[in-house]
Symmetry: C2
Subunit: 297 residues, 2 copies
């Protein structure tokens, strides 16, 4: 079989073709290896990905969404009844009430310095009850509020968070985030985690369970839980207590393990709650005026 | 150049090798094409992806996160001042206030039936002001509240949403989501969008701009905006008005274009606001008791 007859091109250029083929294989393998590394790396070196996007990507990854039961999460014959809980106010009272509530909420400040003075548990219970009135996708109520008051547990949570946060500040977060936080004087030392009488940990339930043990989808759980956190903060302010909205980066799994929380729960927010310390200070910030946040059409 | 001498293996098996190489190329190309298709498809056929996760994935994709300015978003010499806005209450008053606020919020119901009766604009302004007091990552305040009262505009938004929602209900959402919504009697006809005197559209700003035109990172913008929506809802309830938390699936870009909103804004929530219709009904739902949502440790 004379190769020059059957395949003159191949005969002429086989060394080049062989080189090309081998090169193609090598490049493919390199690209594959690189790809896997990029996906596994929590902190990409060059392209900046904000911590919340990272957290979302990480979070949603662990959800196994194959084992769901396709029956309705609510009773199918759910009755519809007249709206009886509604209270209507006169325009004058509406104006007064909306202004008073705005002024109260506008007095809220994020606080880093807490008194260790105790706070009645019943107040905390009313605050959590209030958070539980939030709307949620298909009324799934995908939240768990874990309240820490045990000093040992608070100490262990603090150690866990400070350890991770030191890495966050020095390595993970990158120039921009640390620079943006500088004026707020935050760092990885979180004294408030042991000073405040309570730490509220807000967990979103990525999914739930039906009575028969099958999984139940929790639609819009991230959004629902964050709205619920808004009500939680309003309730804390209403009661005359102070808090701080923190999102401890990369601490979720460690804290979940420490507190024995189930796999479907993901830590969304951590809020110390208590009275402010006597000498508490706040950064001298202002809020955007109405015309910068509202558009009438 | 005798090929049989320089490369006896290649000489012997060149047809097989050629076939293998060509086959490898073809398989690679097919895999690539398939991959692209999977990523572009909004509704995967088999693996169920919940609408919120889809929305998040879609959303984050449009953000170009390469052009950010690494200077601090806040003044670097930001002063820290004593906390002066704080009001402390006695334990008795705290208990009273926390209970009263819980009862008020617990009376809130998601409502689908609205009266077209007008509501004073100043009340709406106080409500938006309240939402603007929410905390946000590095105090970026990444929100825009667009309030629609123009009947034509409300009609056009309604048409846009109903068109998409019909596709959502009949094609996109899948068995499970529609089944879970059935007891709530929701469908793609949204009369409230033209009945309610106001529609509040909550946009998250995926990023912002510095004074010099460079982009500014809005950390945790999704979370911040949802917390702000929690305050918005509390303020609506406080004023004696009703609302409904809706997340119009796939309508964001259309509405953004209709309302001429900039590229960095993504529609997060849409809330009709007004008085309830005279004969308004609600599904006969209850909320989880405290012990199911709170854990003391």
């Amino acid at each position: 079989m004379a190769m020059s007859t059957y395949a003159p091109f191949l005969f002429e250029y086989w060394p080049q073709l062989l080189t090309l083929t081998v090169a193609y294989y090598i490049v493919t393998v390199i690209l594959k290896v690189k790809n896997v590394n990029l996906q596994k790396s929590v902190v990409p070196k060059k392209k900046y990905i904000s911590p919340d996007i990272q957290a979302e990507i990480k979070d949603e990854d662990d959800v196994d969404d194959t084992d769901f039961n396709f029956k309705s999460a609510l009773p199918e014959d759910l009755a519809h009844v007249p709206l009886s809980s509604y209270k209507r106010y006169s325009e004058e009272v509406m104006l007064e009430r909306s202004l008073e509530f705005y002024q109260d909420m506008n007095n809220r400040r994020t606080l880093r310095y807490y008194s260790s003075e105790p706070v009645p548990r019943e107040v905390i219970e009313n605050i959590i009850r209030t958070a539980g009135t939030a709307p949620s996708g298909a009324h799934t109520e995908p939240w768990t509020f874990v309240v820490l008051s045990d000093p040992d547990l608070k100490q262990r949570v603090r150690e866990l968070i400070e350890e991770e946060e030191e890495i966050n500040y020095t390595k993970r977060m990158g120039n921009q985030w640390t620079k943006d936080l500088q004026p707020l004087k935050t760092d990885w030392v979180k004294e408030y985690l042991t000073e405040a009488p309570y730490i509220i940990l807000v967990f979103k339930q990525a999914y739930g369970y039906n009575d028969d043990g099958t999984k139940k989808n929790h639609y819009y759980n991230e959004l629902s839980v964050a709205i619920s956190a808004g009500l939680l903060m309003a309730a804390i302010q209403r009661a005359g207590l102070v808090t701080l909205t923190s999102t401890p980066l990369n601490c979720g799994p460690g804290i979940r393990t420490l507190l024995n929380r189930p796999n479907n729960e993901k830590l969304t927010l951590l809020l110390p709650v208590g009275y402010p310390a006597k000498d508490a200070t706040v950064p001298n910030l202002t809020r955007k005026p109405l015309k910068e946040i509202m558009v009438w059409l």
